[in-house]
Symmetry: C2
């Protein structure tokens, strides 16, 4: 199993604190030694870093941990390989373009072989994971249903939710997905989120000895939601999504 981490914020925010916790699970406190990746949206652009090496050793991961990249939507993934080789093209998050937007996706779980019976319409996987195949299928279905970007996003998220329900029938499918503005989190077995806003307090990571005082790191108007497969802090109350539930966040708030 893998770890997912997502962030949605109303102002460009760095994810150093949460990423420091997640990274420990990449070979430190966790068994996820088969690569990691992270995508940061900046406007409609996305900066994406992938490394098939364990995150705890990675120089690029250290750069991200120490050099704050501010973003309004972040999706990150630490991988423990089950299906597919350990190589760059199998490293999440995966990206494809639809409607002139970069869609970014990361998956936690495993889907059975019946997944590969689902026909692909537009997008082909580069690697050989179930995760990327599911993404190509999902986005191809979305493209077929909505060839042009609709003004209202609600039918889009409902369509995606219904396709996620289909995928859940094939195994474990916890997912983070974004097109730069909306961050969608679909829960098959585990996903938890927390929204931080004024008055800010302190929080301590569960996985290593780091405490942050968000008052010093934020302004009173900041609203930041963090989503992870397991809560990352030990002194805050996280909301767990129920199996089959999808939450969508815009500018740090659920919609």
């Amino acid at each position: 199993m893998c770890e997912l981490l997502g962030m949605s914020a109303n102002v460009p925010t760095d994810i150093c604190f949460s990423f420091a916790g997640l990274m420990q699970r990449g070979g430190g406190t966790g068994p996820h030694r088969d690569g990691w990746g992270i995508a940061f949206y900046e406007g409609k652009g996305a900066r994406c870093f992938h490394d098939p090496n364990p995150s705890v050793d990675s120089k690029i991961a250290n750069l991200i941990k120490d050099h704050p990249i501010k973003s309004h939507v972040v999706i990150s993934h630490i991988r423990q390989a089950n299906v597919g080789d350990v190589c760059l093209e199998n490293t999440h998050p995966f990206q494809r373009e639809l409607w002139g937007l970069i869609w970014t996706y990361a998956h936690n779980g495993q889907l059975n072989a019946r997944l590969f019976d689902k026909p692909l319409r537009f997008y082909q996987p580069v690697g050989n994971t179930d995760s990327e195949y599911a993404f190509c299928w999902l986005l191809g279905e979305l493209r077929a249903a909505f060839p042009v970007r609709p003004d209202d996003f609600t039918p889009v998220s409902e369509f995606i939710h219904a396709r996620c329900e289909e995928l859940r029938e094939l195994g474990v499918f916890n997912m983070l997905l974004s097109e730069s503005q909306h961050l969608m989190a679909y829960c098959s077995t585990k996903l938890a989120w927390i929204t931080r806003r004024a008055p800010f307090g302190e929080a301590s990571l569960s996985d290593c000895d780091i405490t942050v005082d968000f008052v010093k790191e934020t302004t009173p108007n900041d609203v930041v939601t963090v989503i992870a497969t397991e809560p990352l802090t030990q002194d805050e109350t996280w909301t767990r999504l129920a199996p089959g539930e999808m939450a969508t966040f815009v500018e740090g708030l659920p919609v």
Copy 2:
């Protein structure tokens, strides 16, 4: 105008030496202060770094310069904005997936407004540059002509060459393009390449005071071609492409 840098090699090779020269043109010896990007293929996967900040100041650029990432195909670009804002989504190289392969593209030059009369079939630009529009058009045409990847690449490169000739009628169009195996270099006004192989010698960068002894950096079987808008070294003989010429390299050699 912008600077292009490409590499094709028969063994995973780092591009630190050439990148060090190119970076100097990003705000150092050159006027290209509007961002830079680089893509490294590793198998079918591609690692891509983008930064809208000048390369000479960029921490990520320093990481790449100092931390050798070995790759068999590299495409890099330093941008001086002419069309489009300075922002992440307008930063080359651009990428799209076709046939389960990641296509990477960078452009030097400027195309006139008639470009935007060309209809897009499958791919939509994320940003607002002429460069990305031309890429979306080119790859859409290729996809329409070859819905399935042909066994023989020759008709593909001929098709791409013909489309590049069309684009050259609209302005200046120097281009680097790859799908992980082939590196295509199309010359509209300037592109030069050099193949380095045994017996290796020394070379000195034109843009800064760095000399490398390739004997120490290579094995006798290495074959590495470097392509750039202007020759990067002062003591080697580069081959200049003629206007309208396209060269394709595989594993370090022209095909």
